[in-house]
Symmetry: C2
Subunit: 228 residues, 2 copies
DNA sequence: CGCGGCTTTGATGTTCATCAAGTAAAGTGG
DNA sequence: CCACTTTACTTGATGAACATCAAAGCCGCG
């Protein structure tokens, strides 16, 4: 297979590498390393030096950091097409977050200097990346504030709607994480995650069997989210 | 006075416009409008179309948004040298935040297209801005998570230390905001802001008279912050 | 000088974390 | 593949932290 074709057709290109010339795209291709990662595998560890631009081609990954007192805190979940080295990549020397695969995934890596050079050379590409980073940061900030302004029921509802609409495009999905991890994401205790999800089940808002979730009454769930 | 000199010597230049050529700096100068704003005055309103790059030359401003249920939420306080149009400027069409002067301030405005053009033309400048935006976003995110992981006493302590070390460089300063605004910043009620500050006063950690604060025992205050 | 918002203090109630204890599920080594 | 161990899940009871409500004093401003 023509390797350049591979990159040219990669669904990723349309979003982020649109503005690259063919020559630059060729350079990206020569440098990129694509690799599969198993569920649970760590992709980068917080504190590691940043040497690569990493993006997610397939799967789901979580970005987390260790808060004060050693409590884990999940900052966001990245989808295919997301840069997962995210914010730190251009401003820091080492990763701020630990990134772990939630399901079997595929990531692509490009040497940082290659990207840096292209950012310098290609103003349109540079502007696109600026916009992308700004948006990502905005999203995380807005998401965090939305979450914090809600009570526990509202948070769980928000998370379930998000999984359904943003990550799985279905009312019926398998939670890609444990109750404990959910708790880390929305800042509550595992006990209360369980309690409230059970309530939702009893009230007929969702069906729930272990990690299998089906949202039965989406309208009500959204109302709980918005009123929480 | 030579107007170009004005910009060349502006303390702002060293941080953000370092990489601009003399010609580009000249262009910045021709386009910039510098204006004073009075305490309490709104600089931009959330929802307004973004037409300018705005940075703070002197003073202090707050960036806030209206959360769900109309509760105000202060996202961050900007200092001189900060871009205050911040994150949204390159990714959105309208402002995400309302920006208000906390004290008498001075801002400079540059037409957005001028900056955009320079970003496209000048890769080094572009990289600097990328780094700057990444850092700003990182800071806000880290700050928000740090705040949320603390109890109320820890939050107040954190805020006071921050005012002292980051914004005023002194153990003795005048709070630039009301108790209600403080509550909006660190996500608690005005009543509890008052209660806890009074506690600190009674315990001899700070002296407090209306908005005048003096930190008497910084070490203890930091301990309260870190243990909260 | 009086009105409205800011500030302060106290009393009450709700939400949520913590603790405890037991069950199910999922790895692990023989 | 089965016993064994560990880790995840679940439910209930208790207590602490914090929001809310109420009432009174204060301050700036028209």
């Amino acid at each position: 297979m023509d390797l350049n074709q591979t990159c040219k057709n990669c669904k990723f290109r349309s979003h982020l590498f649109d503005k690259l010339s063919d020559e630059q795209l060729q350079k990206v291709y020569k440098n990129k390393k694509s690799s599969p990662v198993k569920k649970g595998q760590i992709i980068v560890s917080s504190g590691e030096p940043i040497r690569e631009f990493i993006y997610l081609v397939e799967g789901l990954v979580k970005l987390q950091k260790i808060g004060i007192k050693g409590k884990e805190q999940i900052i966001t979940i990245a989808r295919p097409m997301d840069f997962i080295s995210l914010l730190s990549v251009l401003s820091k020397d080492t990763y701020e977050y630990t990134i772990t695969a939630l399901v079997d995934s595929v990531v692509c890596r490009i040497e940082l200097n290659t990207i840096r050079m292209m950012l310098r050379e290609n103003g349109d590409f540079s502007l696109d990346i600026l916009r992308y980073i700004s948006n990502t940061a905005d999203d995380i900030i807005n998401h965090t504030y939305a979450l914090n302004s809600k009570n526990l029921r509202g948070r769980i509802a928000m998370l379930l709607v998000e999984f359904s609409e943003k990550y799985f495009n279905s009312n019926d999905f398998i939670l890609p994480m444990s109750r404990k991890e959910i708790a880390e994401m929305i800042d509550m205790t595992p006990e209360n995650v369980i309690r409230i999800m059970s309530e939702f089940r009893k009230d007929g808002v969702i069906k729930l069997r272990s990690k299998q979730v089906e949202i039965v009454n989406m309208e009500l769930l959204k109302k709980i989210r918005d009123l929480g």
